[in-house]
Subunit: 104 residues, 2 copies
DNA sequence: CGATTATTGAACCGTATGGTTTCACAACAA
DNA sequence: TTGTTGTGAAACCATACGGTTCAATAATCG
């Protein structure tokens, strides 16, 4: 159980960290419209392909993106589960704080 | 709506970054039960007082915590508005991804 | 007053992050 | 085959991060 909790904590770290960057959030937004390969994800951003590729890896490590290789293209797609975890955390503490404010 | 609480621009970057650390999330959790001064926030964590103080600063910079000085104690209290912003972001994209999943 | 408490600030350290450039390589197209 | 495309890997750099320690300050106690 403790292990589960710490695993969860570790992923929360990763998910929030992944979200704490505008480039990565923009990539998620793009992926919300459908699958994209790395080049398509990189194109809108004024940085090298390699830099964008690293951002995708961060998203992948956080579990927010899944990659499948099709020929020479790496096709990425969104994975909403970790997001739900982050959302659950936010909701819980928002609820606690609202209670608290209500109690004052 | 009550007020534009944190005068600082609480950016999504800052909020997500602040949340991407277990020590800082634990501090927020502690603050959910009521106001705490820096020492009280620092105590449960096995790190120097100065390190904990820096974490509080990060939370403050993100607009998640407000500080008021009472004598020699710095009393901290939660500020839920930036959390709502983060939550709104998550909700929006969760909705998009759910739609997308539904469409497949 | 002097001692204690609560806290910040500054300097420092090791590691992570975000960016670059260059090179390598598999997959496809001509 | 040759060449182009999509991508990763490696080396490197500057800055940020999370931690430490020690000194400084302001408020309170005795």
């Amino acid at each position: 159980m403790n292990r589960m909790v710490s695993q969860q904590a570790a992923s929360l770290d990763g998910v929030f960290h992944a979200l704490a960057d505008p480039t990565r959030r923009a990539m998620l937004r793009s992926l919300a419209d459908g699958e994209r390969n790395i080049g398509e994800l990189a194109a809108p951003h004024s940085m090298s392909f390699a830099a964008a590729s690293k951002h995708v890896r961060v998203l992948e490590a956080a579990g927010l993106v899944r990659r499948r290789i099709e020929g020479r293209a790496h096709v990425c797609r969104i994975e909403p589960a970790p997001l739900a975890m982050a959302d659950a955390w936010l909701k819980l503490y928002e609820a606690l704080w609202s209670e608290r404010r209500g109690a004052l």
